[in-house]
Amino acid sequence: MKKAAYSFPEEVLEHVFSFIISDKDRSSISLVCKSWYEIERWCRRKVFVGNCYAVSPPILIKRFPELRSVTLKGKPHFADFNLVPEGWGGFACPWIRAMAGAYPWLEEIRLKRMVVSDESLEIIAKSFRNFKVLVLSSCEGFTTEGLAAIAANCRNLRELDLRESEVEDLSGRWLSDFPDSYTSLESLNISCLGNEVNLLALERLVSRCPNLKTLRLNRAVPLDRLPNLLRGAPQLAELGTGAYTSEMRPDVFSNLAEAFAGCKQLKTLSGFWDVLPSYLPAVYPICSQLISLNLSYATVQSPELIKLVSLCEKLQKLWVLDYIEDDGLEVLAASCKDLRELRVFPSDPFGLEPNVALTEQGLVSVSEGCPKLQSVLYFCRQMSNAALNTIARNRPNLTRFRLCIIEPRSPDYLTLQPLDDGFGAIVEHCKDLRRLSLSGLLTDRVFEYIGTYGKKLEMLSVAFAGDSDLGLHHVLSGCDNLRKLEIRDCPFGDKALLANAAKLETMRSLWMSSCSVSFGACKVLGQKMPRLNVEVMDESGPPDSRPESSPVEKLYVYRTVAGPRLDMPGFVWTMDDDSALRIS
């Protein structure tokens, strides 16, 4: 490499670059000139791959030879709601094998919506001497045997987080495989495990790890074992309880209350399965220090929730069931002025009639009372344009707004009009809105608003909405920063998709299921856009056994530099040049 008239030697540049952490900035640096590109790629330590099929292990390794931290995401978001059939893909193994060979000093692996096998976990356990962080978020495919390998071999493990993964729980013994000499645990999240872990081993582990800050237990850890655990880790900052119920006994209660009070650093609480309301007061002493509270499994009624929430004056994040009702949200609005994020989940999502007194009013109250509210996820059964308008005007600082009106295509319950104007107000007033999920009765007009105002929008989720291709066209042509678009059950078809084909290369991915996109259009898209993978999913057989005008079941389009993937199951067809030629 030519060392022309540089002001700074390489080492100095490298040192400067080490202060640049954001991926976007790193990318900008690498584009300045060839030598900066070279320096940057050798000193890049952390990489985020939003779609594991957008790139391949060899490509990644070739460009970044010295990584310490890799994050990969696999399946599309709608996989969370069972829209992606099993076997679709997102296999971690090829990545882990490749990284095992290339990055002996790898410290962190974070995977989301990927299929991880025990074999992969064993490879991780044996290949990386300095392995520190394993986060498996909404993953599946592994058992507690794989966890045992991690526990037994990763001497320097700091974090083991299995959040929301599907683990085949063969036995709780794996926890005992952490050797007695192992003391470096800082964060443990086993909340998704079904069976009981070895409680004695857990207690010993917790008490011998002085840096343990996060402990999220699973439902099977009984409440009466919690005080011991807490006493073993008074420095805990984040706790997820197990089942929060036991026979009501005063000694158990006071033991618990004392143990909680001893955790002066505790800021985050979650868990709370099977809550026996009379045990809730045990946490009252620490409520005033809480910044995050996840009660989304706590099936207790509004009065109990109100008592709890009204004590949490520093609360920034609340996840709760709709048992809290409008009244409870009004109290929340009055008590928690620092609230940044609210998620209200449905207690009876499939019931036809409302089972709780939670309406749009609750959200309006919070939007009025909580000036810092930025992020909302709200399930309810009725909404009005007026309410949405009020919310938008109250909270122009919203960055994430996800509203789910449970009955598809519900109109404004007051006027029976579509909710176009309401959502329009949201995108118009909330200029920094990055994520939006729509619901209710919506016409093409709402998409016109979104295309016009949603300039910072990065992710949009649409279901049962719109009238025609114009809707999709508005979004694709108007939303300059759109990265992820997921659509289901909308009358969007070929025209908008093909007219905006180039846009798709600027996005991470597009999902369309139960829409009106024809197989023929998918072929055209695949043929004309070689840098996109156009994948058609159809469980009723090969799409070419039907007329070209037949709509495809599911379409997943994503940009890639790795070409069509080779691990597709039988129900996924790729519309690349070769296959198109073969079929026609």
Partner: protein
């Protein structure tokens, strides 16, 4: 934002090749994602004259957009004055028989958009009494585990792709049987109809799957237990079934007796079937 500044912004996006690599076209690996949206590209796509004769309906009732996704078959035809929902086919049905569950809409797959482990909270936990003692070393998940469901695989004769069901979502054989019907009814019709054309045909051909438990129907529900044996669903109390079931199968009843004979002769249970498929 004008074209040139948009192009500039696009050039600054993360790529996996050095600047100037646009010219290299040899290998997929070297081609980075070129973001420049030239008018030429767009118009070339448009000018292909794709489907001038296209008959895709881009408007219209929700049911025309449903493909073979059978679980969405009961999309409500929204009538503002009337909150009850009916699918097109059930609206034409006469008096519902006992297995006809169409007065309420069948569950739409993936709606409302909540994770499976959030689905059954109201039923699975009772805040008024303590939980049962943890099970002794069974393979069963503890009552929904960490809020997680108890998913077992279920395959059906004639349907190539298996499914998973969350047994914690049901508390009786009858509910499970109904769920199996809902799950596979449309898929089965799609299989029968896979040679045909249009979408709308599917909904008319869907037949309710009945008699899963008593041998009276075209299909019978069987399961594989934790010892690898193939058993008829329905013999033991529900909670015992849940604690020993490993996977489910929906077999054609006509093949069952032959299969039962095989079981008796070979006593190999599940492996036999895996080899056969």
């Amino acid at each position: 934002m004008d074209e040139s500044s948009r192009n500039d912004d696009m050039k600054l996006e993360l790529r996996l090749a050095p600047p100037g690599a646009e010219q290299q076209q040899q290998h997929w690996g070297l081609i980075n994602g070129i973001r420049t949206t030239t008018k030429r590209d767009e118009s070339s796509v448009l000018s292909l004259g794709y489907f001038p004769h296209a008959t895709i309906t881009t408007k219209g009732s929700p049911s025309s957009t449903t493909t073979s996704s059978s679980q969405a078959a009961a999309l409500p035809l929204h009538n503002n004055a009337d909150k009850k929902v009916f699918s097109p086919s059930s609206a034409n049905t006469a008096v519902p028989n006992t297995s006809q569950k169409r007065t309420a809409p069948g569950p739409v797959v993936g709606w409302p958009p909540i994770r499976s482990f959030r689905k059954n909270l109201a039923n699975s936990s009772s805040s008024s009494k303590p939980p049962p003692p943890p099970p002794e070393h069974h393979n069963k998940d503890y009552g929904g585990g960490g809020g997680k469901g108890m998913f077992v695989k279920i395959n059906m004769d004639g349907v190539p792709i298996g499914r998973k069901v969350d047994l914690n979502a049901y508390d009786s054989y009858e509910n499970l049987s109904n769920a199996v019907d809902q799950l596979f009814r449309g898929l089965l019709a799609a299989q029968r109809d896979s040679s045909g054309g249009g979408v709308n045909k599917l909904q008319e051909e869907e037949k309710v799957i009945t008699g899963l438990l008593d041998g009276s129907g075209e299909y019978t529900l069987v399961y594989e237990d934790n010892e690898g044996d193939r058993m008829l669903v329905g013999d033991v109390p529900w909670h015992m079934f849940v604690s020993t079931v490993k996977r489910l199968r929906v077999l054609k009843s006509s093949e069952l007796s032959a299969f039962t004979q095989l079981l008796v002769l070979f006593s190999v249970g599940g492996k036999q079937e895996k080899d056969a498929t």
